[in-house]
Amino acid sequence: MLRYLRLLGQWALGWIGALGRASTVGFQSLAGLPRRGDMTLLLKQVYQIGVLSLIIIVLSAFSIGAVLALQGYTQLARVGAEESVGLGVALVLLRELGPVVTGLLFAGRAGSAVTAEIGLMKATDQLSSMEMMGVDPLHRIVAPRLWAGIICMPLLTAIFNSVAIGGSAIVGVDWLGVDAGGFWGGMQDGVQRWEDIGKGMIKSGVFGVVISWIAVFQGYDSTPTAEGISVATTKTVVYSSVAVLALDFILTLVMYGDFN
């Protein structure tokens, strides 16, 4: 019995220690003034993290938008309210699915790639040799990836939402025959700029920070072996996904708490 308590205690302490190290990595990377050449590094990372994620984001968005329209239509048609399908789909996407699904996809594709890359650089002594040459790897390798992640998430979410709504429109209006005026009019009438779009973007911003931070830290902290990198990438995907879902719940409560 005592042994389990001790293990639990050790695990908790290990976790808190990791949080401490993660905070150090985060602050030290983001602190400090930008230098010449930093823009190039950032640009390259935005390409790796954002542009290369576009395919999966766009494909998923279109599918999800289409499916939402299909399912929504079926249910709403029962009570003659098909025209509201535009509004329903838009609200669900903007408030919840857009940020969350984009976050999960982002963690799986970009997050794991970043972790693997940094982990590999650590395992092959590239980070160490950089340090010995007087270059701070936190500034040169970690910071651009962190900033790129923070920038890309909201952009990807906006693209996801737009493509998904477009997909739902194609299915709803062109395919299922919902009246275009009703579809878009109902949507415009019911969707609010700040409440729905704005708060959804805030969610995506928060997710972006959290996912990037986890991805970058897991890579930097990984054991410098092949197994270590594999463990680290898994942790990034799992921790990020759980964090996104948990934060979504909390943020939804906080932002939309008026459920009277």
Partner: protein
Amino acid sequence: MTDNLIEIEGLRFSRGDRIIFDGLDLVVPRGRITALMGPSGTGKTTLLRIIGGQIRPDSGRVIVDGLDVPNLSRGELFELRKNMGMLFQSSALFTDLSVFENVAFPLRVHTNLPDEMIRDLVLMKLNSVGLRGARDLMPSQLSGGMARRVALARTIALDPKFIMYDEPFTGQDPIAMGVLVSLIRGLNESLAMTSLVVSHDIHETASIADQMYIISDGRVIGEGTPDILRDHPSTMVRQFMLGSPDGPVPFHYPADTFLDDVMGDA
């Protein structure tokens, strides 16, 4: 200005429960090639990192070129590292940069030289390791020996006063080994550098080292020129120098007697 570039006194360092260094003393004289040898896992790479300021020891003095390394500020450490080079065992080339860019890296970081000058310097350094023609290749396209030579070119890009080599000869074919040996010796003489070589390879290292240290159990157990060490009073030193399979470092991992083990299962 002392005669010794590096002086280490009473170095103590542990990682977790393992004591890695327990009162280590050594000096690295200027302008010479000094070798650090010892059984695997004695922390030789860790020692290089302590000298480079990446790791702080628990106690002891580490003086490099008159500077107290463990207590330097970030700015001072940055300056020190300009004059220090380290060649890693895995060559540690930046995989996303070409050979040319790898060698140019320290120049771009530490100097404000115009591109034409950087180009000339990089080509010069690559020429001295014989790889000027490979400048547009990516690290993944290089063989192990070539990668190490490029890493060496990168290490000497800023003409450092002092270079540390971490296992430079490991896993190299005889020709590549010969090339590296001659490069290390040649560079040390022509650029009036000080070199610290960590290695297992007795033969290669003995052929270029001016003096050697044998480290075991966190301390120096033998020092001197290769000839002195071959006739050293300590049996462990002799075992290491001669490469005998059995001696103070035993062949058999601790176990019951053979007879007991075999009969026990019957």
